[in-house]
């Protein structure tokens, strides 16, 4: 654990095989951003990808940059951080197939069974940002905006950005090629103490739905 690894993008299967949950990763090459706006265009509305992504990179960053456009048409990237990935889980299978993406980067990971069933079988790993507010460190690693697509249609936050990156990180490996999950492992360890934290605390007088899923139940 806490071993530092540099990976050149597009990532080779050999380089990904070295990763295990908890490894610290820095990336070099090109990453692209895509989240629900982009997934919707390509997977639901069947629009063509604006660039043949797989020729350039295989790393998808769940990110909305703090960016603005300059008068000369160039872009300024201030800080870069990830957005919570669990919401995009449902797109991942089709997306990895369509783009040959093998490195998914985001915030907080996805359900462990998605790693086993969707990412690992396709040779893909999941990296999580650290913290999660390391916007300045990651912003420092972005060397250049290569291009931005669907900016007008989707806005700055949802557009598809292509970043040239160097020493881009740190990230922590959540899921390795076998679909092991750091978050799941850590969650199990945390759970062992939870009962202790609630010792002696009674249920509140009035419950809420969600605490019982039977809507015919009384809540008192």
């Amino acid at each position: 654990m806490l071993e530092k690894i540099d990976i050149d993008l597009p990532a080779s299967p050999e380089s990904l095989a070295k990763l295990e949950p908890g490894s610290i990763v820095y990336l070099n090459g090109v990453v692209y951003t895509a989240r629900e706006g982009v997934y919707d265009r390509v997977l639901n509305r069947k629009e063509n990808l604006p660039v043949p992504i797989h020729e350039v990179t295989n790393a998808n960053f769940h990110c909305s940059p703090a960016a603005s456009s300059n008068a000369d048409g160039s872009y300024r990237i201030g800080a870069v951080t990830a957005t919570a990935s669990f919401r995009f889980s449902k797109y991942m299978g089709d997306w990895l197939d369509a783009t040959k993406t093998r490195v998914v980067i985001g915030k907080g990971g996805m359900p462990a069974e998605d790693y086993k069933n969707i990412l690992a079988p396709r040779g893909a790993v999941y990296l999580t940002t650290v913290g999660y507010g390391t916007g300045a460190l990651l912003g420092q690693g972005v060397r250049k905006v290569l291009s931005v697509h669907w900016l007008e249609e989707l806005g700055i936050a949802q557009a598809m950005w292509m970043f040239e990156v160097c020493g881009f990180g740190p990230f922590l490996v959540d899921s390795d090629l076998e679909g092991n999950s750091l978050f799941a492992e850590q969650g199990k360890l945390v759970n062992r103490n939870i009962e202790q934290a609630y010792k002696g605390l009674r249920k509140p007088a009035l419950l809420r739905y969600g605490e019982t899923d039977d809507r015919k139940d009384e809540l008192i």
Partner: protein, 324 residues
Amino acid sequence: MRPISQEAIEEACYEIMKKAAVDIPEDYLAGIKRSAEREKEALSGFVIKTMVKNYETATAERRPMCADTGLPRYFIKVGDDARFEGGFTGMERSIRSATARATQDVPMRPNRVHPLWRTDYNNNVGINAPEVEWSFEPDAGWIDITTVHKGGLFGTDYRMLFPGDGLGGIRRFLLDTLIAFGKRGLACQPAIIGIGIGGSKDTCMQLGKQAACLRIVGDRNPDPKIAELELELMEASNSIGMGPMGFVGSSMAVDLHIEVGFTHTGGMPVSVHTFCLSSRRATARIHADGHIEYRTDPKWFTPYYRREGIAWEGARLDQERQHA
């Protein structure tokens, strides 16, 4: 003396937007460094140390510390004796203009969209946005403007508890909220936790939010019993066994603040808020002569703000009873 100019007001708003996005407040930095020293788990310790490095990089390179620059909003305190151009609506115009300019110049992420149509004007300004909360202060000629950039998706909850649920009920609801949003670190902990107790529903939310965002690390509630409860619940938060990113650890709260308001005799509403790892706030004081001073302590909860100084029948008796 001439009234405070509208230019001074807009300059102050613009500058605090930049400062808040980039520079971590010193009280929070000192607090998180203490968390780093205390944290025994390697992974959690690595996360906190990386965050400290991130704050240093943000300040050195003038980059926002987090790309999710939150939902910028404002808290304004106007001294009774303050005189300024443009009136209150003029001040709100300045705030909107400064928000839009800072969004472009910092740059900040244009997070604000229409809730249904998702329309984004790329400037963090829109219907009912940014929020402006007003308060007033006796015997003062200055205007304090505070901005807070807080993420808005995870880490907040509200619940109507009842007097019989007691302090244990509050503790349990706090744990529920922290564990629900702390898993995988969605709350971006360690955080400054704010708890609002009492008031009506909306007041309860507002008090908790302000407790999280507008009081600095190390500040204690002036009521000694509430101050004690703050320390007790902070200890409970850090004893869950959860650290940053939901990893095993003991760093959930950098501090915990409680604010209270008189409430319905039958109820005990409670709200919990987490002001994340990137606790962004900055304050400008525009003095009566127009010069501007910047700081990171909003000094929002003055004795007047808590209405301690407003007399009502029985106030003295009530205080005597409480402290007996």
